[in-house]
Symmetry: C3
Subunit: 490 residues, 3 copies
């Protein structure tokens, strides 16, 4: 073996210890910029109080969104089989730390690096950078570049609160594919995916819509309404997660026994329906944070309408599936009622601040029908296996939700959004440009996010592989992949 460099001669464990300590110490020595908090002393007391109230609002909303990780964990675990329960839970639990560190290192910088200030949070001009391309006299933002590792904004409360809020949104997007790819995904490949998603894929599209990137500037640059508008993330969070799930499920292929040679479709029922239903209720709870928090301001009285629209759309989505399936199959379908509730939530997310309660109900009703239709089409027509219904709920309803802004925005909110004066108006208010902007937004998501996700999964497939061996899948991932049974002792 001859001489080996110092680090190589250690055990892997020691190497990990040394390298992580070195890494952290380097970070620690980087100076931070005092900012934000100090400047609050220089504004009138009411204004400073407003800023901190808004800061608290963003944090509380962020906590609620973080809690959605448990919702996804229970939903997906309930819809999978007992032999894979630990693996499904573990993916949902692990995506939180993996995504957090990835988003902290580069994701937040790519996504929000170009942001100069968040006025509602008392940010008075942050260090920022955005890689842009000039087309004619238009600057199109491609990706943020700054705030990596929170280094320059260490002491800026607004940046920190937005990091937390951004992280938990990313966490939602990143955990969606674990539902569609459950019961057959290699854990190491999943970990790799976690870093790819949090460090690059999610932030990319996030920058384009929320970080000042080119989709948000379709209005300023090309006169298309307010550019792409996505209030809480129908496209940024859900469609991104849903289409990544689709790419992953296509590359992975169906679970053994799902689609038989004779065309029959195996049931492969989940092992704990009450668990899945609990997850649904937790998601409906956390979703209030996702949507109402996206004002970034408790001082914005629009939070009332947003929260009401959120709950109304979820109810409409759920009831639609219940009555539709009751009519069609003469029995309630509880799993579908969950999908419908979540589909309604996903669909209202982009438009919750811009539409009336009646429109929210209508958006939810349509989402309900879309969920039923796409669950059936995905399975029967496209023969894609998605144990937790992630693709219909997040992908399809996310697309619908992003378009719905361009249809139903009623001209009562959004003055100044993306730099455009006047409220956001959809087709019903005669603004065709806004609809076009939304259409461009979802098309780009479908092309770029789906394309990049597909590329990633294909590359992984050709290197370390995405899928566990068939014998692991047969025995269950818990015993052979995770080394722990879910219920060893009952």
């Amino acid at each position: 073996m001859g001489q080996r460099p110092l680090l190589r001669s250690c055990t892997p464990g020691t190497r990990l210890i040394v390298s992580s300590l070195v890494f952290a110490v380097v970070l620690l020595l980087t100076p931070s910029t005092p900012a934000g908090a100090q400047k609050l002393d220089q504004v009138p007391a009411v204004e400073a109080l407003t800023y901190t109230l808004n800061l608290a609002w963003v944090l509380i909303a962020g906590f609620l969104v973080m809690f959605m990780q448990l919702g996804f964990a229970l939903l997906e675990t309930g819809f999978t089989r007992a032999k894979n329960a630990v693996n499904t839970m573990a993916m949902n639990l692990t995506i939180y730390p993996v995504g957090l560190i990835g988003f902290w290192l580069t994701g937040y910088g790519f996504m929000m690096g170009g942001i100069h200030q968040w006025p509602s949070l008392g940010a008075f001009g942050l260090p920022h950078g955005e890689l842009s391309v000039r087309i004619g006299h238009h600057m199109l933002g491609l990706i943020g570049f700054g705030k990596f590792g929170l280094l320059a904004v260490n002491n800026d409360p607004a940046s920190l609160a937005m990091f937390l809020f951004g992280t938990v949104f990313m966490g939602v997007a990143a955990t969606i594919p674990t539902g569609a790819m459950a019961e057959r995904w290699k854990f190491s490949a999943f970990l790799l995916y976690g870093f790819f998603m949090s460090m690059f894929l999610y932030p990319l599209y996030g920058n384009w819509v929320w970080g000042g990137g080119w989709l948000s500037q379709l209005g300023v640059n090309f006169g298309l309404g307010h550019g792409q508008v996505d209030f809480g993330g129908s496209s940024v969070v859900n469609m991104t997660g849903g289409l990544t799930a689709l790419a992953g499920a296509m590359v992975l292929g169906p679970r053994i026994g799902k689609f038989r040679r004779d065309g029959a479709i195996g049931l492969l029922a989940g092992h704990n329906l009450p668990l899945a239903m609990s997850g649904t209720l937790i998601l409906a709870f956390g979703w209030f944070g996702l949507n109402a928090g996206s004002t970034l301001a408790a001082s914005d009285p629009r939070i009332g309408l947003i929260a009401v629209n959120t709950m109304l759309a979820s109810a409409a989505g759920s009831l639609t599936t219940i009555f539709y399936l009751q009519q069609r199959y003469n029995r309630p379908d509880v799993a579908m009622a969950c999908h419908g509730l979540l589909g309604g939530l996903v669909a209202i997310t982009a438009s919750c601040a811009f539409v009336s309660p009646a429109a929210a109900v209508l958006i939810g009703i349509i989402a309900g029908f879309l969920v039923v239709g796409s669950v059936l089409a995905l399975e029967r027509r496209f023969r894609i296996d998605d144990p937790a219904g992630a693709i219909p709920v997040h992908g399809v309803c996310g697309l619908w939700g992003a378009l719905a802004v361009g249809i139903f925005a009623d001209g009562t909110y959004g003055d100044g959004w993306n730099g455009i004066a006047g409220p956001v108006r959809g087709l019903i208010e005669g603004d065709f440009g806004q609809f076009i902007a939304q259409l461009i937004g979802v098309s780009i998501n479908a092309i770029v996010i789906f394309g990049l996700a597909m590329a990633f999964f294909v590359i992984v497939e050709r290197t370390i592989g995405n899928r566990v061996p068939a014998e692991v899948e047969w025995s269950g991932l818990d015993s052979l992949e995770m080394g722990s049974e879910a219920y060893p002792n009952v």
Copy 2:
């Protein structure tokens, strides 16, 4: 079959699609009144900030109360058998969308239609209407009439926040009967009940106490203290839910095997006690929203006392049952400890803002004894089958809680409540009139709510029927009524 009108010729599914779209489009075209948010610009900045802080408070509290749906779902599912787990969960999950849509369509209008303004939320005069009856020179409000479908208050943040807050309270009341009527209730009859409860029954009494109706005016009209006072809903929410549960359980009759011919009582133990205990803790968490949110104002420093009283009463209720049963049967009874904790919460709800911590403890202790006594009496004496203990916990302790205001209110809070100057005083402060008002309030609840609920269940019994066939009950509602097993794959 000859010629049929267009809609008839479609499949049921298409009919549902068409009719729900038509309905929603009609709503969408109705003009909304700009209100509320605009007017915030016209008040001083501190005042506007106070309003939005209070709005945020009401919403956050409402989110916590919404989360109680999961608490009830787990509590009731834990206390029922595995073969009915999906059904019990499904009722608790479905009541949320059903109730939401019902409350949106008519319930909120009946309950809060008569409200002119909520001062803490910056509501500056809302469109309102209340059907009243004149007796002498007194106007007695009977039912609200306005704000249906949120139409006229589309853009008023206060009305929207109060809709959310009112909806989740209604959701609590509406989900209580699913505990007492579990394991034998036909799902279609339950859905019908959900609309009846949310659209009419709950809003009726709610209007009388919280919507400006006649019980709230017993002080102004007849000099009885501050009229009926119910801070967080011991009577409005819990007693209404508990007595509806009682009527339902009486009409349904006991589960097969509960009361045998020889007088013996079957145990029919629930299938997952840890689940029920988890539900209890979730309810104790959400209850903070129910009570502390009922100030409708974070700017009211009384929220501190309210939250403390809430937790102290729950502790007293739980400890009372633990020590009492330890004394009597020489072993802890965990289910009863849960009931006692919830009984304490229910009992303190009406008075939490008006009494001292010591009184809260006393109210909780008495609730603990009442729970034990009424659980035993209900089963042994009245032979009424209530799998989750909903009637003792919510009905009996709700009644006790409403009376407790009239006894323990200590004259430190409530100036201006229901239009009466001076704080609320109970018997211990010498106000006999307040106690009479409370007595009238609970009597009316016992007569009108119980009566109407009974009438509803009897009518359903004679038409579509309330109860599943015996063979469905034997096999479990999950397989035959819901079409999904809870744990198919363990």
Copy 3:
């Protein structure tokens, strides 16, 4: 038997009723002092609003911490066997009411009795008392004395909010030992412990660090930095809980079958790993309240950094265990990933407001290694049986977290903390005194808390006994000790 005094002649049940009513009535008759709320009228409107915003913040944070009871319940129940599931849940559920009443009666008074005011909450001078000892011209606070039963501060919102916040912190500390002592602890001995912990043990050290006691005055009296600084409770809450757990587990001894005569270690795997993972996520959610709430002020923009540090440290802790064990054993260890996540949370708790995000990551990484090392050492070297990993997670990481303040505090926060001007600085900023203060703090915890806990458990051992008989342990505590099976009907 001759003549017996009146109370003796009753049944035990009646005796309990009579005595608890008498007790409560006595309390009820004690006059309360009007305070706090009234005085808010006398300050400028912005200031009053700031106070109530902060009050609401403390309450909301307190609700989140209360919810951690469910997290601990699920975590510990998942890590224990099915035959003890009700017992484990019951301890976690019962500690809440037991601790609440105990803390209300004496605990809060011992801990916070010496506090004169909380400036962020609009407290304008509270009745207070602290038993102190004079050494030279230094006054060293030993224990608070006042506010028992909340009597004198009945109507002071700040005291009430702080009671709620203090109670739920105590609840966390008190529930930690139930994890280490699970599956063999006699329920009556546990109840006794609950009162000892909430009424005396936790408040004692709590007073020293947070109640104005001598450890907090090490700076003022002896020039050691800012005295012991523990922002959210690494030492006060977690180390106290963890060392009490250690004492208890040592006195109890291991579960039957854990350590065999031949030196082999039994696995005794928990019965529901997804439950334990759910508990972990709930704890991570509630921890935001623990840390960010500890500003006692939403008006303090530091809440942003605190929340971000909290989540980063948890991620670092969890990822460290995942990658370390993957390296070492070539498979993920899900239980250890949970321990690592919690260890990161515990470790950052004391320093979350004083360090940079990079330092938070470093603190979390070290916590991750400490968790793995101490779990293995505890089991293999010290042969102490701790089913839920409470001692490594809370004891060891709590100690590390308290020390970390003295190392990494970066001089950007803490001006005026414990009466010392200027920010808190650790070793990296050259303040050796602060590190000494922290070292004294954890040493005192290790000596006094561990010593008193050990004394308590030994006394109980020699009187009523701590441990269930072997046959109860064999059959499971649920059937013989609790009288209820967890899953009787599956």
